[in-house]
Amino acid sequence: MFYLLSAIIIGFAVLSVTSSKLYRATMYLLFVLIAVSGLYFMLEYNFMGAVQLSVYAGGIMVLFIYAVMMTDKIGEPMRSISNKRKILPVVVTIGTAALAIYAIYSYQGIAATKEATVTTVEQIGSKLLTYEAGGFVLPFEVISILLLAAMIGAIVIAKAKKLVNQEKN
């Protein structure tokens, strides 16, 4: 099952970065995100799998699809760089990935546990809201302010046409 998910993730990720039609690339990215959430479910971290499905495969993909529909001429292939100029990125990424995987496999100091642990929502919730050592209440609050700022910023930027006109006047 893990290998099936890995094959789906890698195959659709490659399709997503090489497809010449932007809308299809978005759909391939959606498959990658769903397979990643399957990986979280396999790792017994069900809350993260649900968050991945709802936030990524739900929210962010809808944003992407709206952006693609508003900016792209659907069906027309994107402008891409020539095949000759793709040789260097291919060589560099494959070489660096091979080096990184070699470094991972040559590291001996990992003592992995054998016990399967299920992370429950209660554990995550109490970890996020505890004041004691190792609690995450401060980052939790900061990220809520960040999300509010991002929301206001997105609204202001999306409305910026009027603001620009006012500045010109």
Binding site: M78, S80, T113, L146, L147, I155
Partner: protein, 105 residues
């Protein structure tokens, strides 16, 4: 942990996913496509956090909470970046990085 799958295999998967993202970031010229490659990289990071936490020290939840924060940050970043891209498209009617040079000079 996953039965019969070692940490090395999961980390190989995330490494490959990360470098596919880097390849896309290097070769794409469309801003939305570049942002999608970025999402691939962020996803690889989040899987790495969860997998290492699950395999090495399942008693502490640090890595799993970090991956939640990563998703929240990625959502905020994507929303802002797409708002900027839409505004750029309204100004210049293109989102190709070769042709957008408003900030260049």
């Amino acid at each position: 942990m996953i039965e019969g799958v070692s940490l090395f295999e999961i980390m190989s998967l995330t490494t490959i996913l990360f470098f596919i993202g880097i390849y896309g970031f290097l070769t794409r010229t469309n801003l939305i496509a570049m942002l999608m490659s970025l999402e691939l990289m962020v996803n690889a990071e989040a899987i790495n956090f969860v997998a290492i936490n699950k395999y090495l020290s399942p008693a502490v939840l640090q890595g799993q909470v970090f991956s939640l924060f990563i998703i929240a940050l990625a959502a905020a970043e994507t929303a802002l970046a797409l708002a900027i891209i839409l505004h750029l498209y309204r100004l210049t009617t293109t989102i190709d990085v070769k042709e957008v040079e408003e900030l260049k000079y």
